[in-house]
């Protein structure tokens, strides 16, 4: 297993998808069971990876490298370092949870679970791929299942949301394709190998780097989503079924920032320095504030969470752009933390939607008395999202802001004050839905059930544990990020402090 573990993690879900398609249509429990069964081994492997990952090195680990199309120098090249392993862990965990959360799906179950497993495989592939071509293929393969999952099993405006998501992402990815080809032909000898491309980054002219950087960035920014490319996200999130919203917010958004860290940073360091110091930081700040303000204006519970995602992803961009050890560590930690927190939030929205069949924030009231356990879980998730000390998101946001303080005091103050906005919309929502007089329409609503709690427990544990003791994740990512920071700073010969990381 050691060398091929990543390959298994990528392709087992794919095998699962094919197996699910071969099952009889009416065997509902068999289909659910099979789909769940194929997400368990990747989860176990993820735990194994976590235990055996060498935290002292920034090198790629668990590498597999096989020529695919030798005449074009395309390889099947996968491996993980500190940046990707957190995302692989997150993907494995959320895929398993979301399969469980999808048990309520009735319509065309076979197709649903097959598409879901296909999506799972593609997501794993994106985070493991170290060949640009392979990365691109996995990146695009995600689109198809996502399109159908939103389009067939989504809400009333699902067709619009699905095609909007598809078109936005496609615009980004075709620009990425051109940039990828340009990089391939610019490097001598031509290669798609991301590590090779990074090692030659010194030889790329600044003008070329800037153009390629922008091409790639647009592709990734749409995924994050950075303002002004964010408008697909509220639609997609609102219309998607619960489990798919979780995957969208928990995993897919991270691909944008992951792509920037994996490709833009090491391969185009000079351009990264140019753009990080104004474009990325400005977009990050704007995302934080704008997302929070939009969230405040929403009356749809799910849309509110969607906009809060935009706001929280702003911290990731902000941290990345600071180019400090604290900031960038905070950014990757925030990617992981947001993945867990927002997953909880979407699962919780799903719980209430399944019961009341609407998500109008003003349409509830006093749920705390009717569904006390559900309210408790929501409170945990809300406080985590607000960045309450003691819960995971606090650490990452503080790290990000600490990183920003040295170079951008003004913007850091703006970003930090946005925490007040976050607390504002979260608490206000809390008040409108859970507190106050009970809406008699919903007096009989059953409380959160065992299956739903089962999906929340692992996330809740992670949120609490990482809130007091973030080292499990920070130790994983630190070596790779210090190295990345040195590469970017060193290649462009800008002396940046790469002081020891901030580990509380």
């Amino acid at each position: 297993m050691p060398t091929n573990v990543l390959t298994w993690m990528i392709f087992l879900p794919l095998v699962g998808a094919i197996v699910v398609l071969c099952l009889p249509r009416n065997a509902a429990n068999l289909i659910r069971g099979t789909a769940t069964f194929f997400t368990i081994p990747p989860l176990i492997m993820a735990v194994w990876l976590y235990q055996h990952f060498d935290r002292a090195t920034s090198d790629m680990q668990f590498v597999t490298k096989i020529p695919w199309i030798p005449s074009f120098n395309i390889q099947y090249f996968i491996g993980v370092d500190g940046i990707s392993i957190t995302m692989v862990l997150l993907t494995a965990l959320l895929s398993f949870i979301c399969i469980i959360a999808s048990f309520g799906i009735e319509k065309a179950m076979k197709a649903y679970f097959a598409l879901f497993l296909l999506l799972d495989a593609a997501m794993m592939g994106v985070f493991c791929a170290l060949d640009f071509f392979l990365f691109f293929v996995f990146w695009e393969v995600m689109l198809l299942p996502m399109y159908f999952l939103i389009g067939i099993w989504g809400g009333p405006r699902r067709e619009y949301a699905a095609i909007k998501f598809f078109l936005y992402t496609m615009v980004g990815s075709v620009l990425m394709l051109v940039a990828m080809l340009a990089l391939y032909f610019y490097a001598e000898p031509h290669t798609f190998d991301l590590l090779e491309l990074a090692s030659r980054s010194g030889s790329y002219s600044t003008g070329f780097q800037r153009i390629a950087w922008i091409g790639l960035f647009i592709g990734f920014a749409i995924k994050i989503p950075a303002f002004p490319f964010h408008t697909w996200l509220p639609d997609a999130h609102v219309e998607a079924p619960t489990a798919i919203s979780v995957i969208l917010a928990g995993v897919l958004l991270k691909m944008g920032t992951y792509g920037i860290l994996r490709i833009n940073y090491p391969i185009l360091p000079a351009a990264t320095l140019d753009f990080a110091f104004y474009l990325l930081i400005a977009l990050g700040t704007w995302n934080i504030v704008y997302g929070a303000l939009c969230a405040m204006a929403q009356t749809d519970f799910k849309k509110l969470i969607a906009y809060s995602s935009i706001s929280h992803m702003g911290y990731v961009m902000f941290g990345m752009a600071t180019m400090t050890s604290e900031g960038i560590n905070g950014a990757v930690l925030q990617m992981f933390n947001h993945g867990t927190v927002t997953a909880m939030l979407f699962l919780l929205v799903g719980v209430i939607y399944d019961r009341a069949h609407h998500r109008e924030i003003n349409g509830f009231g006093g749920l705390a008395g009717i569904m006390p356990f559900y309210t408790g879980w929501t409170a945990l998730a809300f406080f985590a999202a607000m960045g309450l000390p003691g819960l995971s998101a606090f650490i990452s946001e503080v790290l990000v802001l600490l990183g920003g303080w040295r170079s951008y005091p003004a913007l850091t103050i703006v970003s930090a004050s946005a925490v007040v906005l976050t607390a504002g919309y979260m608490l206000w929502t809390m008040q409108r839905i859970y507190l106050g007089k009970a809406n008699e329409k919903y007096v009989g609503l059953p409380d959160i059930n065992g299956r739903e709690i089962f999906t929340l427990v692992p996330l809740g544990i992670i949120v609490v544990v990482l809130g007091v003791y973030p080292r499990p994740v920070l130790d994983l990512i630190n070596a790779s990020l210090v190295h990345l920071n040195q590469v970017v700073a060193g290649k462009a010969q800008v002396a940046l402090a790469t002081a020891g990381n901030m580990v509380p």
Partner: protein, 496 residues
């Protein structure tokens, strides 16, 4: 040492595919008089084409040669296209045997005319003389007019046929006028002689430019490139579905074959390492570049506007694809040609596949409009709907499907030449194409049947073809190595 052209008798050994095809045409006309069950004639045509494929493939292991005193050649390039065209015809006959439209109008000459058209296509792919090229092209055109108007009792088909004839007449008239200019400037109709004359500085640039433009009209008409595309929507819509597929795949491929050979052997000069250089002072690669951008943009935008007939939509999509393929033409090197050959093969699979699904729906419900596809996946037609989705996404150029690989190589050739504008226009066009391809997918999957659309059944005959094309589209999306190598080997022209 340059080999010289073979004489007429010595050439016969290299012409077995054409001889078999020609004999089969005559045989079919005769059999038509005695056989009452007309499907038998289709079976004969099918066997003939299988034989043609085998005979053409056999020539791959032989030498290249110039035949009939230099009128046509057998080389890697010609054989690649002969195989592709024979396979296209094979699939068309297979489709025709399972088509309700063809069965209803069951006459024997259909098969003979189809084979005759194929014969013309094979000559288009191998001719090295303008006169021969013109004759082959006209032969294809005339047979295509007949095929597209084959449903004699359909007004729409008659209209299509007539439009095709009129546009075709204008285009071929323009082309032969252009050829006469070429003859006047170079003193010969032979590609090699034209090349030699241009190399020696004969012929002024401006008249040559005019001559090329005029010639391009005829060729652009065959591949349905803007602004010579006007016939395509009406003809695609009016012709029987197998014939439409044949025109979209076969005619287009042969048009490209002739176009590539004429421009690359007569109007350009190989300077080694797979790179070509223009001769005669005419920058036709710029012209093709503009043509490519305009064609794909027009085709895609027009397709977006199509809401009704799926065949008509696919006609505009085929115009757009002609634009994509022209990208490989404009870069003037072997990488571009290889990408074009590869794309044509992939295009054959996915476009033909889409037409098979169109035919299945039309067979069962008699409908070709988009509303006829509503909820196809949810009313028993899950398999054709899934296959159609695969073909359409492949046409869009999404991995891991063959269409992506085809586009990838085209864009790679363009980026390698640093034609970034063309590359960006090309990729944005792919996004535009997603709008209308996804519209069909949406109608099939995301919308619920409202009742009254009818049940779409798949019989084993059409299902087998559909399955093969689907598997081909999927397999070439992940394991395209052998095909791209074959395409790469087929980019060399015989310099005799």
């Amino acid at each position: 040492m340059e080999p010289s052209a073979l004489g007429n008798v010595a050439s016969l050994a290299y012409s077995l595919p054409e001889i078999v095809l020609g004999a089969a045409v005559v045989l079919l006309f005769l059999l038509d008089l005695v056989v009452t069950r007309k499907e038998t004639l289709g079976d004969v045509a099918l066997v003939t084409l299988a034989l043609v494929v085998v005979l053409s493939a056999r020539l791959l292991w032989g030498d290249s040669a110039a035949l009939y005193n230099g009128a046509v050649v057998v080389d890697g390039f010609a054989l690649f296209f002969k195989l592709l065209l024979a396979l296209a015809a094979f699939a068309t006959v297979w489709m025709s045997l399972g088509s309700r439209e063809i069965q209803k109008n069951g006459t024997g000459e259909y098969w003979a005319v189809l084979l005759a058209s194929t014969l013309g296509l094979l000559f288009m792919a191998s001719s090295t003389n303008l006169l021969m090229a013109y004759l082959a092209l006209e032969f294809v055109s005339l047979t295509s007019y007949v095929l597209s108007g084959f449903m004699r009792h359909s007004r729409r088909a008659s209209e299509a046929s007539l439009k095709y004839l009129i546009y075709g007449g204008v285009a071929s008239g323009t082309m032969i006028y252009g050829m006469s200019w070429v003859y006047g400037l170079a003193g010969s109709l032979d590609f090699r002689a034209i090349h030699t004359a241009l190399m020696s500085g004969q012929g002024a640039a401006l008249p040559l430019y005019v001559a090329l433009l005029l010639t391009l009209a005829g060729l652009g008409y065959k591949v349905a490139a803007f602004p010579f595309h006007m016939w395509a929507p009406d003809v695609y819509q009016g012709a029987p579905i197998p014939v439409t597929a044949f025109l979209a795949v076969g005619s287009k491929a042969a048009g490209f074959a002739l176009m590539i050979r004429f421009f690359f052997t007569a109007m350009a000069q190989s300077v080694g390492a797979g790179v070509y250089q223009l001769v005669g002072g005419v920058d036709w690669s710029q012209l093709i570049l503009v043509l490519s951008m305009v064609t794909m943009t027009f085709g895609n935008l027009a397709a977006v506007a199509q809401q009704g007939n799926v065949k008509r939509l696919l006609a505009y999509s085929s115009i757009a694809h002609a634009g994509y393929m022209l990208m490989g033409f404009a870069v003037l090197n072997d990488d571009g040609l290889r990408a074009m050959l590869f794309y044509l093969t992939v295009y054959y699979l996915m476009n033909l596949g889409a037409f098979v699904v169109v035919m299945l729906v039309a067979n069962s419900t008699g409908r070709e409009d988009l509303a006829g596809y509503r909820g196809l996946a949810w009313r028993g037609g899950a398999l054709p709907a899934v296959a159609m989705a695969i073909f359409l996404f492949s046409l869009t150029g999404l991995p891991p499907l063959a269409g992506f690989v085809g586009k990838f190589y085209l864009f790679a050739a363009v980026v390698e030449k640093q034609l970034y504008l063309l590359a960006v226009v090309g990729v944005l066009n792919s996004v535009v194409s997603l709008v209308y391809y996804a519209r069909i997918v949406r109608t099939m999957f995301l919308e619920q049947p409202t009742g009254g659309e009818g049940v779409v059944a798949v019989d084993w005959h059409n299902g087998l073809l559909l399955g093969l094309l689907t598997i081909g589209t999927l397999v070439l999306g992940v394991a395209w190595g052998p095909l791209i190598d074959f395409a790469g080997r087929s980019t060399h022209f015989l310099a005799y």
